[in-house]
Symmetry: C2
DNA sequence: TTGCAAATGTGAGGATTTCTCATGTTTTAA
DNA sequence: TTAAAACATGAGAAATCCTCACATTTGCAA
């Protein structure tokens, strides 16, 4: 056992960024790396993405890639983080000003549509998600994100239904949120017509559960 | 470009079994290989499973492994097939003799419980599923299976609600089924108490959607 | 401007893993 | 008994991830 301290080991299972780009030049290069990775994942899936190919397409050396990303998963995770941040912004924006049940219904519907459109427009998201599913540590973080998102729903529902059991509300919101993600992923996996039907069916189902028929 | 014909290429993306074990001896060896793979996946996840380790633990050579499985994914897929077959049997058994709405409710509830218990007892299933998600071809097969399972639901629902729109029934059943899978996977990812609550919440939600309050 | 330290860039090669194939052994069936 | 088919083996070819010693560029204080 050598005591040599390696670059990893900030969180168990997740290697920390080896270094943050502090210069303008390197920030641009990191952007190119992520763009190249995103394109490759969209083409072939995250599993088939090759680090050498990412480097080549970004116009950098393989060494530069590892200068900013400790390993392959870190690239997938960096992309995933962007989309979770984006979706969090969507949710809080959509639900912020909900005052009554009718307002909630339309806000929720709109929210689901935005999600659906986001996934349709960026097939990368789907593959990034697949990549995270195959990895225990990433899955845990994904789950935590999902829980955090559900909290937005809980906050609104507590206003709309102040007499409801908080624990049940929490459970329902978490479940409905997770199912929304599943529904959207399912919808983009089938043809457009069926996908639209599935999303609409999900909305009905979710709203019935959240605020009654 | 050489014209050499390799063993793969029955279906696009899915390598075909190189050879089916026809002798008793080899059938037993294949069983040992699958058991070893299953154990390793349960311990570390399908991604961390090493072919050499599978061979060693099964007491066979690496060459024998590749005699029956064209590649690593094929092992994961073979395990996945077993569980999908098992779950299909569950569904048809549970729904076969449903005659009225009350019977459907209890059968559905029991079905979900069986699924939940199956996933709790065999963490392999979860990892097998993660493995298939990371792969486009396997995902397509998984989706086809899910659709086939939903057909069982559709068949029963058509009996119970003969006046309902068939297309809507189909959509709803597919969605509800897919969400059930998502709910169970979610439930086994959290602590037992919350998992139980989530599964119960899913049952309520699904039954309300399928046969009304 | 100059000089130096920190940040960044590079790619050959070490380490690991999947999978092949030539060769040897066992089983089947006529 | 014997030939053919099925099965078994493991060294090593091929592919891939990642490291590391060294080169270059940038920021900045003197």
């Amino acid at each position: 056992m050598d005591e040599k301290v390696t670059a990893k080991a900030d969180q168990p299972g997740i290697a920390s960024p080896r270094r943050s780009p502090s210069q303008q030049r390197s920030r641009e290069r990191v952007e190119r790396m992520l763009a190249a990775a995103s394109a490759l994942i969209a083409e072939q899936g995250s599993d088939a993405m090759r680090m050498g190919e990412v480097a080549e397409r970004a116009g950098v050396s393989i060494g530069s890639l590892y200068q900013f990303f400790p390993d392959k998963r870190a690239i997938v995770w960096a992309l995933a983080e962007r989309y979770t941040a984006e979706s969090q912004a969507c949710i809080s924006a959509a639900l912020k000003d909900v005052r009554d049940v009718e307002g909630f219904k339309s806000a929720f519907s709109e929210l689901v549509d935005i999600y659906y459109q986001l996934f349709l427009a960026e097939p990368v998201i789907r593959d990034v998600w697949s990549g995270t599913q195959a990895d225990k540590a990433l899955r845990a973080l994904e789950l935590a994100d999902s829980r955090a998102n559900a909290e937005f729903l809980v906050a609104v529902l507590k206003r709309l239904r102040p007499d409801a059991d908080p624990v049940e509300l929490e459970t329902t919101a978490f479940l409905v949120w997770q199912m929304g993600e599943a529904a959207v992923r399912l919808a983009i996996s089938v043809d457009r017509e069926e996908g639209d039907r599935l999303v609409e069916a999900y909305k009905r189902m979710a709203l019935r559960e959240l605020v009654g028929a």
